[in-house]
Amino acid sequence: MARGPDVFMAMPRAGQGGVTAVHAPRGSDPSVVIETLRLNKFYGKVHALRDLDLQVHEGDVFGFLGPNGAGKTTFTKILLGFVKPTTGWSYLFGQDVHAGGRQVLSRVGIVPDQFGFYPNLTGRAHLDFYGRLYGLAARDRESRIEELTKLVRLEHRMETKVGGYSHGMRQRLVIAHALLNDPDLIIFDEPTTGLDPKGAYEVRQLLRQLASRGVTTFLSSHILFEVEEICTKVAILNRGVLLKLATVRELKKEFSAVSGEQLEIVVDNPGTRILDAVRGTKGVVDLKAEAQRLTATIDDPDQVPKVVEAVVGAGGRIRRVVERQVSLEDLFLHYTDDGLGPGAPQKPVVPPGVHQAASTTRASRWKEGKR
């Protein structure tokens, strides 16, 4: 994406504050941007959210990960006061938008997963309207629209009716709309779904750019690598239940301790001597051999050099060493029972496009390695 002008006038905000699933009394910590307490939502008999306790802190780049139907959209709609929770509470900056705290919405920007514009109005008319709804003065509105349309590269389509926009252009317009008020919190609900690879790439670039400015970002997505790439913290939601809430690093560490790290070594001259040497190395908990390829499972990433030394010491001529990092995809599958079962995702977890190539390679390699 072309570099846009600097539209983020807000001072960079420090990204600290841990993610915790506690029942902290509301307002006790001014750095808590999003907070929910025992949030439940029923759609008839469908229990879309179950006892959700969540905190997002100032500066977090928070990934909200879950398969389709997990309840992500329901959660964002409740946060913004559009849908009422069946029981429980939700707060934005300590304010309850369901109980008269709507003014706080002037600090929030939203990119919904589904939205509609007015086909007969121009792009500019739309941004002007939403700017007015935020209560922006005429001069602020104008300068903001000017900057944002450049940022999302719609400056030449501002006078065209939105009815003629492509899906990608509409997505860029809705992102511009969400930034009009220079938000302190921006919520993206599956912002790249349905975009072509280039469009999705551009949106992710924009997300990264925003996140690097310290704007608290809440990214709801079913696309794992997107969250892994951009987010620092992640919550995993499945069928309305919050399964995990931690930093990406913590999650990976925990997972490699549970399932081990995979080290793949390809040697020219496989043999039992080499196998025995590797097996005898500290930290190796499992070893599989398949033609020239050895796959060792180690419980401590620091043991990698030792394993390599053992192979060389046993006379092995190493052609290639691949250390397979635990990806969020592995974690996700681990926590969501492969995301299958009743109420499972309707759509494939990885959408078509460039990222498919990247992710499926990783996923299939992982599966190969496992078997």
């Binding site: 759609y43 709609k77 849908v83 509609g116 514009f117 007015r132 709804l133 903001r144």
Partner: protein, 311 residues
């Protein structure tokens, strides 16, 4: 943070919604097409009436004395020309109220543009007020053009400008009809706030308008027709008449034209009398009824939208 906006007050929010809706009505040409249709039909009606009935009414000039009538003698014919098409077609005019109300909320929901609005610091009450304001702005704009054009056309045909008093009465009469439109628009807005599709909203609004409102007032007429002892001021009969905002609007027209006095003077009112079946209604009650109608439906809409989960 200066550029974050200050949030919106009630009326400011309502005004932004109304402004947007008017813009959409302009861009989709709804305002132009529907407004054009109405203006042209009414000009045609007024013209027809003026041309065909001018001579007929001229003979009664002498019997009208300025003192006894709300209509000044010189302009009596003209006033009748002006009001005749409006009274006769005021039912059709009510449709205008429904056209600019039935889809106000439900379309935003159907087209998924509602979330983008309600995720802003605008209250739902303000949103509804804006929706109503937007529809009465569009209706009002059409009505002003329609009224002024008819007025000018009739003045042209009759060949003289009406007295200031007649002009005031004419626009007062228009005000009554307009109020009736607002009532219908508030009703349609109410339906648009709790149904799931625009089609459903239009159907319900039209059905209530045609079946309930006309059935009740016509039923009242029949009830009075078959019962000799039921007079024009029978409370049950009156209630059936007030129920229909069309008739309540006509009561104001009747007052302003003073049709009773015209009839006493021997002017054959014919179709005029027929069209103003609310002849015995108190215009003040009629007006208050229309106001109550707006308040009840607008309040109902706010209650529905405030509590509705748009899921």
């Amino acid at each position: 943070m200066s550029t974050q906006g200050r949030g919106l007050g009630f009326w400011d929010g309502a005004w932004q919604i109304a402004r947007k809706d008017t813009l959409v009505h302009l861009r989709t040409r709804r305002l132009l097409i529907i407004g054009g249709f109405y203006v042209i039909s009414f000009l045609g009606l007024a013209l027809l009436f003026a041309v065909f009935f001018r001579e007929f009414f001229s003979g009664f000039y002498d019997r009208l004395s300025g003192e006894a009538f709300y209509i000044s003698k010189a302009n009596a014919v003209m006033a009748i020309y002006l009001f005749m098409p409006l009274i006769g077609a005021s039912s059709l005019l009510q449709l205008l109220g429904i056209i600019f109300g039935y889809d106000a909320v439900v379309r935003e929901h159907e087209d998924k543009s509602l979330f983008l609005i309600l995720s802003k610091p605008v209250s739902r009450e303000s949103f509804i007020a804006g929706k109503f304001l937007g529809s009465i702005l569009s209706i009002g704009a059409i009505f002003i053009v329609l009224g002024a054009a008819t007025y000018l056309l009739v003045a042209l045909v009759v060949g003289e400008m009406p007295s200031p008093g007649d002009a005031i009465r004419y626009f007062l009469g228009l005000g009554f009809i307009l109020m009736g439109l607002f009532a219908l628009s508030a009703m349609a807005l109410f339906f648009s706030s709790w149904v799931k599709t625009t089609g459903m909203s239009l159907t319900v609004s039209l059905l209530v308008w045609i079946l309930v409102l006309f059935a009740i007032s016509t039923g009242g007429d029949i009830y009075r027709g078959v019962n000799e002892e039921v007079g024009a001021d029978d409370p049950v009969y009156l209630l059936t008449q007030y129920i229909n905002p069309t008739i309540a609007a006509k009561s104001g027209m009747h007052f302003i034209l003073n049709l009773d006095a015209l009839a006493e003077a021997g002017v054959p009112l014919g179709a005029i009398a027929l069209a103003s079946s609310g002849i015995n209604l108190d215009p003040l009650v009629g007006f208050l009824w229309l106001v109550a109608w707006v308040v009840v439906f607008l309040g109902g809409t706010i209650v529905v939208v405030r509590n509705r989960n748009f899921e």
